[in-house]
């Protein structure tokens, strides 16, 4: 088959989202029974698969501690390792580019595309490319950018965004995909047989691998000591994108680096087991350069784009730096009761779920992300499963504090104070007065229990779904005094 999909749009770019709009989105999502059901089912499946990969709690504990240690070690040497990586990649023949912003990154890649008069860029899975709206930037410049990961391909065909960082099309049922393929791919009839659907995707995309001018990929681990880019995947599209076209561009955040090659062994193991509950992925692809003299295939040029986009802001703070330990396994979202109920799109960010809540403020600023940190019961399920032990709840609390703080002249975070509300701050100040003064608290609690009949029957969000709270007639301290 050599049909062009009729449309290759990639969803709306992530525009500024107000807290109000975000709230409305979450409201709609949580009230969509279809979405609730499919996410619940998918997350249950992924949780059970992960649990089956870690039958030995001691091994898990030890591997998590090691993985955390490796990520923290790497971050503690981050600038050195970046320079080492650059030197070794350059020695291997890879061209290294640095970008502070999405625009810079896109400009670098567009420049490469123009140099090669590229018409089509075929893409392996890369969340960083989502983060910088790569597809839009290329299409705006007349260069086609086609997703080739099956899930990403489906999402792109539907004009949507990924709703999960590992399983982008997790929100779509096979019937929806069947309909989509029948509508968008010429010559394809409706079938909801999964094998048949995958065959259709395979056929469309094989032609593209063969003809594309450039392949784009993400990076799972960049190894400084050898100058190697490691990619984890099951489908083989990543290998296609990095092997068949004449030019391979890899893009990664500056944090995805390790010093030693042997450091990837534990990280790779815990990544696939945490992510999809696989003992190992089908492919682990380690790229150390372009086609050399004598080589018969492989790209003639390999580029690496190192993207900051707010990561250095997280790096600047010892606590927030832990955000950068992330290896993007998605386990935190699979185990998140909030993500399970609202799905990935409601977050309005490239990275949804708990990791999205802690990384997005650095990428997008707190103005449009501060509400995310509050959309958590702090249950701790994310922190419990995170393979690199990022204390996600602790970071959510910290971000709430940054958002609440009175605006600074020199904010350490973009959008610091974005949720600052003098009225709410006043309420908390009064609260602290009350509870930090035992005598005042005693008087207040005495009154509240004695005049409990006056408790309002409507208690904002609480009574929407619950009967009202009412103080008891006597406090514990009264009972304690009267006992015996």
């Amino acid at each position: 088959m050599s049909h062009q999909p009729q449309q290759q749009s990639s969803g709306q770019p992530i525009a500024f989202v107000s807290a109000q709009a975000l709230r409305a989105r979450m409201h709609d999502a949580v009230n969509d029974p279809h979405l609730r059901q499919s996410f619940r089912g998918a997350m249950d499946f992924l949780m059970a698969k992960r649990a089956a990969q870690f039958p030995d709690q001691d091994e898990l504990d030890s591997l998590r501690a090691l993985s955390e240690g490796i990520r923290q070690y790497s971050l503690s040497k981050l600038p050195d390792l970046l320079e080492q990586l650059e030197a070794n990649l350059t020695r291997n023949g890879v061209k290294v580019h640095w970008a502070e912003t999405p625009d810079e990154a896109n400009a670098i890649m567009l420049d490469i595309a123009r140099r090669h008069s590229a018409k089509l860029i075929v893409k392996g899975k890369s969340m960083v490319s989502e983060e910088i709206e790569f597809n839009h930037a290329m299409e705006a410049a007349g260069v086609g950018a086609l997703e080739s990961d099956m899930g990403e391909y489906i999402v792109q065909l539907a004009g949507e965004k990924p709703s999960h960082i590992i399983m982008p099309a997790i929100h779509q049922t096979k019937q929806q995909i069947a309909k989509l393929f029948a509508e968008k791919i010429p010559g394809v009839d409706y079938t909801d047989n999964v094998d048949a659907l995958i065959r259709i995707g395979r056929n469309v995309l094989r032609d593209k691998f063969e003809s594309a001018d450039i392949g784009l990929s993400g990076v799972n681990f960049a190894v400084a000591e050898t100058g190697t880019l490691c990619l984890v995947e099951n489908e083989g599209n990543g290998r296609m994108c990095t092997t068949v076209p004449k030019v391979h561009i890899a893009i990664t955040g500056i944090e995805k680096i390790v010093e030693k090659l042997e450091h990837v062994a534990p990280l790779y193991s815990i990544l696939t087991r945490s992510a999809t509950g696989q003992a190992v992925s089908t492919y682990f692809n380690m790229i150390s350069g372009p086609r050399k003299a004598g080589d018969k295939d492989g790209p003639e040029e390999v580029h690496l784009v190192l993207l900051d986009n707010g990561r250095s802001q997280a790096y600047a703070d010892e606590q927030l730096r832990k955000t950068l330990q992330c290896i993007r396994c998605g386990a935190c979202m699979n185990h998140c009761p909030v993500y399970t109920r609202i799905g990935g799109h409601a977050y309005g960010t490239t990275y949804p779920g708990p990791i999205g809540k802690i990384i997005s403020p650095h990428l997008m600023g707190l103005e449009q992300t501060h509400l995310l940190a509050t959309a958590s019961s702090l249950c701790g399920a994310c922190g419990e499963v995170c393979p690199v032990k990022i204390p996600i709840p602790e970071l959510l609390i910290r971000l709430r504090g940054e958002a609440n703080s009175a605006p600074h002249a020199n904010p350490a975070m973009v959008g610091q104070g974005a949720a600052y509300d003098p009225k709410i701050s006043f309420v908390w100040r009064m609260w602290a007065r009350l509870y930090a003064r035992p005598a005042t608290y005693r008087a207040f609690s005495w009154l509240a229990t004695r005049f409990r009949a006056l408790t309002p029957r409507k208690q904002s969000g609480w009574t929407a779904a619950r009967t009202p709270l009412q103080p008891a007639s006597r406090r514990l301290r009264d009972m304690v005094k009267d006992r015996r």
């Binding site: 949580v30 609202i342 959309a375 019961s377 709430r400 035992p438 009202p468 709270l469 301290r477």
Partner: protein, 277 residues
Amino acid sequence: MSNPVVSTHAGHQARSYPSRPEAVYFYGTCLVDMFVPEAGMDAITLLEREGIRVIFPDNQTCCGQPAFTSGFPEEARQVIASQLDLFPGDYPIVVPSGSCGGMIRWHWEKVIGDDAALQARAAAIAARTYEFAEFLLHVVGFSRKDEGPATTVTLHTSCSARREMGTHLVGRELLARLGNVTLAHHDHESECCGFGGTFSLKHPDISTAMVTDKVAALKATGASQLVTADCGCMLNITKRAAKEDLDAGRAKPSLPGEHLATFLLRRTGGKPAGDQQ
């Protein structure tokens, strides 16, 4: 439906327990003090019945958790600072709530600020703070004869008790020690009930979806009641169930719930404070 088992490890080291002390401090928590005093009272009665003197510091107010988790660390700090003098003796501190216990044990030292002396005091308090059920099992060695009729209950453990204090196994063990009580496990047992303090007020939609699922899972066990060692979750769950009853015109509560202390006391021949009223 599948019931994925999330790691049973609390992310923290298993702790070693002291021998049974002569006395304990009882830190009732602001929620118990004003909203569920009988649960606190029953916990105290259980301890006293075991011959342990219970000291209730009158200046106790709140562990600071509401402000801390809402992102008002300075306000939390002020409240915590006011609580550091409450426990002058070297007795254990017993807290009938996993989340408040977790706040004291894991966060006071960090929230209290840079003053090393204050940090040391907070750390010393943290080291001898125990969640009530944990204390009852591991320190008191609770084993009283179950005098109640055969019954089936279901247990909800708060997320902080489970993940910060590692006490969900404790609740199970205490119930198992009652000879006549069967514990019915519920679907997605390790999942949050959706309370999360101000989360339930700030995101009522999501919180409601969570508590509604939790109530359904608990009811689906067919257990006669809910037992929990955390009053925040208890209020969230039972008041949601009560609302469902109200909306459906049911007079009899479809999911009655009580604190583990109250349940244990009643089963072992004691008189819960709530029953006396």
